[in-house]
Symmetry: C3
Subunit: 479 residues, 3 copies
Amino acid sequence: MKKHSTNLRVRLPALVFALEVMIVVLYIFFVTYDDQTNALLQNNETKPLENAVYKVYPFFADIQVMIFIGFGCLLAFFRRYGFGGMAFNFLMATFAIQWAILIQGFFQFYDNGKIHLGVINLINAEFVCAVVLISFGAVLGKTSPVQLLVMALLEVPVFAVAEWIVVKYLKINDAGGSILVHLFACYFGLGTTFILYRPSLNEGHSKECTSYHSDMLSLLGTLFLWVVWPSFNCALTLRGDDQHRAILHTFIGLSASTITAFALSAMLSKNGKLSMADVQNVTLAGGVTVGASVDMMISPAAAYILGVLGCTACMLGYKYLSPFLAQKLRIQDQCGIHNLHGLTGLIATIAGICAILLASEETYGPSLYQTFPYRAPQDGDPRLAELQKLIPGLEAGLGRTAQEQALYQLAALGTAIAIAAVGGMLTGLVLKLPYLASPTDESCFDDELFFNVPLEYHQVQELQDAGCSETQVKQVLAN
Amino acid sequence: MKKHSTNLRVRLPALVFALEVMIVVLYIFFVTYDDQTNALLQNNETKPLENAVYKVYPFFADIQVMIFIGFGCLLAFFRRYGFGGMAFNFLMATFAIQWAILIQGFFQFYDNGKIHLGVINLINAEFVCAVVLISFGAVLGKTSPVQLLVMALLEVPVFAVAEWIVVKYLKINDAGGSILVHLFACYFGLGTTFILYRPSLNEGHSKECTSYHSDMLSLLGTLFLWVVWPSFNCALTLRGDDQHRAILHTFIGLSASTITAFALSAMLSKNGKLSMADVQNVTLAGGVTVGASVDMMISPAAAYILGVLGCTACMLGYKYLSPFLAQKLRIQDQCGIHNLHGLTGLIATIAGICAILLASEETYGPSLYQTFPYRAPQDGDPRLAELQKLIPGLEAGLGRTAQEQALYQLAALGTAIAIAAVGGMLTGLVLKLPYLASPTDESCFDDELFFNVPLEYHQVQELQDAGCSETQVKQVLAN
Amino acid sequence: MKKHSTNLRVRLPALVFALEVMIVVLYIFFVTYDDQTNALLQNNETKPLENAVYKVYPFFADIQVMIFIGFGCLLAFFRRYGFGGMAFNFLMATFAIQWAILIQGFFQFYDNGKIHLGVINLINAEFVCAVVLISFGAVLGKTSPVQLLVMALLEVPVFAVAEWIVVKYLKINDAGGSILVHLFACYFGLGTTFILYRPSLNEGHSKECTSYHSDMLSLLGTLFLWVVWPSFNCALTLRGDDQHRAILHTFIGLSASTITAFALSAMLSKNGKLSMADVQNVTLAGGVTVGASVDMMISPAAAYILGVLGCTACMLGYKYLSPFLAQKLRIQDQCGIHNLHGLTGLIATIAGICAILLASEETYGPSLYQTFPYRAPQDGDPRLAELQKLIPGLEAGLGRTAQEQALYQLAALGTAIAIAAVGGMLTGLVLKLPYLASPTDESCFDDELFFNVPLEYHQVQELQDAGCSETQVKQVLAN
């Protein structure tokens, strides 16, 4: 009966078809084209080459690579769970994006009874998708595809609420999503895995390890994430010099964390050798740590230092904190997202607050009020008119001081972590419901459970050695 | 003698050098730069940043990824035919593009005795290349590189004729190439494999299967195709909102077919497990099904539904139609191109016709006559002058009604399939000629035939266990 | 003691932290934002969408793929040195780029006591990085990460001096970097490997071979290099038609060398089979051979012929020259960089000189003096005013004739090779210092030396067969 309970034949299609009906109905009744996509809204003054698609598509394309290829390969690091890592990432990502288009659409792109759709919505939805995939890292190998879809189904709206509170009420600076993406995703994932605690896995699992080829593929995923990360961090910044800085800082931060990761990996290992898990994960820490201040005038040196700090925290986390969390706090964080997204997200948030407190007109000129729009004077303030002479398009802000803005950042930090942790735990409870095909402890990290896995070559030869006829072998292979 | 007949030592260089001499001669006498590439045609009013290269290069780059990396990895799914899948794809693609530049150049870019060349020709040639590579899928593992080059040599001109008839005389809407690319490629490939029928392969072949690593690599190819498909479907659409919609619809269609593929894979398998072949192929169906209407105002919901429909047809095709074709109709379709490109291409064509019949000025406004240029009023029609007030650049069309346009789409469908099937069969006959190094049935799907394949690790150890000296082993390895 | 000397536990962190302190100090004191990145320098006339980042970022992104993914996979071709190939490439590249930003910054972007930083500096630094990685190919598998960092540490300034002499004094045309990138990198690498000569490796090494999977991964790297090479060759050309031609010629040259490589591989092999090493390397020769003339009006036919010539030279080099160099001249060129970058670089240089000698106003019009800026008339020459009427922005040049320019190209060739060879040999001497963890001959090409390598599946089974308990096996795996 245990065995039967992981059969996907009915469960997966039933859930998928239900989700699809829901999505199609919502699409039919609530989704229409935005004004850059709707043929009817183009007129004789429209310049096709100035369509918004050309500003956002290159970044969208890079983020697609990040989501599907970068995450897909990186999560395929287990010896016998490559299919699961890569294919479930594919499944979850496609669903999460569609679901985020709708949920986020209701919160942010809803007008006149309709969600207005363009490629910019896809980018926003892919940020939500990144959140879901990071959380996925905490439960990798221990969940069925049915559970993963349910997890995405629940996480997307919880995230949308948190995002809505932060964007609508708290109004923070966080171009790289350190708070909303990385910290939220981390604590949601930890909440879920805390509830899904499996004591027996703390004693080790024979499949919970890598192979030479899975390590190579996973590193390839790291390289893809590394290469497109600047596009991720700059996709939602202001155009122009802000976006230029975001690319520069991300690149420098990643470079610093990469070289540091190699050094620390050798230094902290028993035998003075490098560990591929460090090369795959810790190298990326700098991309997160520069996130909250990525578009600010922090200086290239600060980006470099943030990369080194983030990498060090992440590495120490893998080495000392993760085992502690698993053994003492029942938090089995499979991919160590608390190190790569949690600790680094905290550093990023603190760095962002420092950058906010240090930001002044001396450094930014009047464009200070573009990079920090909530510090711009309020409507009616005579200072606003003055600034608008210098920057014609400047919009009225909230007249916040740097200190006030810093407090809002802290408030956002608390809000995101609280909602994430509670949401994650509730999601964990739902995932424990029967009928969701949860794997047994023994069948964790094993593709055999959910996939028809091809025989290895030596298995074929064993069959032949055992006297199977050519036809019998072919039948086994064709299965 | 059989064995000798697959030796490439003379055959392959002889053919390649002959092709290269032909290509060089044609380049010398008939190819020159177009007016965006020719230094002589730039003048003091030229704005370098408005050179056409900047509009098309990003799409060209994405299609390069599709052709060389996406197809290359996807076709490497056989356990022992990874070299063949990836390297023959590389060989065929580079030749097909060069050949298409010339052949398509004569049909479409010929002026004053010269083919005028810019990056836009490369994009067009890569569409032809995609046709050749799809057809290749039908005969994968059963053909020599010599045969594959001959196949490309013949398919490109046959395609160019079909394209010329459709573009010059029938004039259809088919931005994603559902008819010209997918259906043509499918029936050409089926025609070829029909002639190359190998009865013994219907009984199975011990190498006709995947391995864990080949499945992973093939899925990586799928992910690359998935990620760049929007660029493929929008590369040749009108700039502006049309291109914006094409990206949106492709993404939505692919998302829908991906999640559906997982559900159907579990549902239709005997043991309720997922099959990697489905995840690799059927997930992509939505990219084809939205193709013919991809730039039209079909609504996001319709794109989603097309993805689901396409995926379902494709999956049922793999499950029930492919075995039938192989057993009863002598059509051994190795990669199931009839499912992924044929059935989906038909659905796309029908969807395109529906979208054409439903298109009206109420939905599109006056830009209806840009998206459907053949419905624009003819020269001299007073309605044209009226419309030109609304859209200054509008060109005179053919004054077709929606119904007329629908009939032309049907005519193109018939034309493409007929030319493709006949051309494919004739090509198959040519490929049966002697001296083309056709593999024997036993050596199909096996890299040993055409490549020096490195020994596996256990083979090396067997040599050492068998008492070979270090030097002898090194000699074997160095070979 | 020998064994102990390759322990990275102290050596690698010590070197890395020293380098990081140096980099941070230099960043703090000498690096600031350039005028496209500095918020303070934007004003009410700044158009954010015209920020320089949008012109260069797409090319930067492609070159990132080339450096980290293309090189990373290509260099992972050894059976048991995949971690080393891919991860050391990652380490070296990140350090080399940071170091090049600083060193090159002092030579080329230094103003008012500061290096001014934007994404354009990153592109320039990635060209230097490509140089370092090509040289790395000569010593792949025979060097420790400590040695590799030292090599990058020394090669970057030596290169910067050569570049400075060529750019500042000789002033040549070399858009694709045939002389400065490929030839310099080649002779630097050969110089280094000459000094690091290991006689015992000439007798073969049991790990110096590929496996099926490493060959596939390496070919994937080739395909990435192939696909993004046009971006590399055009990244630093003039915008407009020059860049358009550079893309076109690179694509044609690569296509020609690819198909030729397949033909020659079959022709020159003993048994008429293809060799993957040829498909991985020789196919790329055309990208180098078109390099020096890539933006000139050489005609598409010439680009094709250059691809064929380059491929032929490269293939003959692998077949006959490399063994000769290793056996007779003590130059063990691991990846055959002398074939892929040296011989082809020479051909490219000669082709560039021919293209310069043939260039005339008849072919280029007045933009001749933009593509060849040093041939533009000098300040004060009445011809300059005349030309400036035709091309408003034309700057004064050096009034060189074609013949003079050709001589300067030759001078640059000699300068680059001489500096590279001497610099490479001196670097080799430094790398022979003790404490740099140089591998012994037996442990070359083996990841076990510097990485914790996961057990293979059959090794796990052997442990179990040998009576190890589940717990013991888990401990071994967890290590």
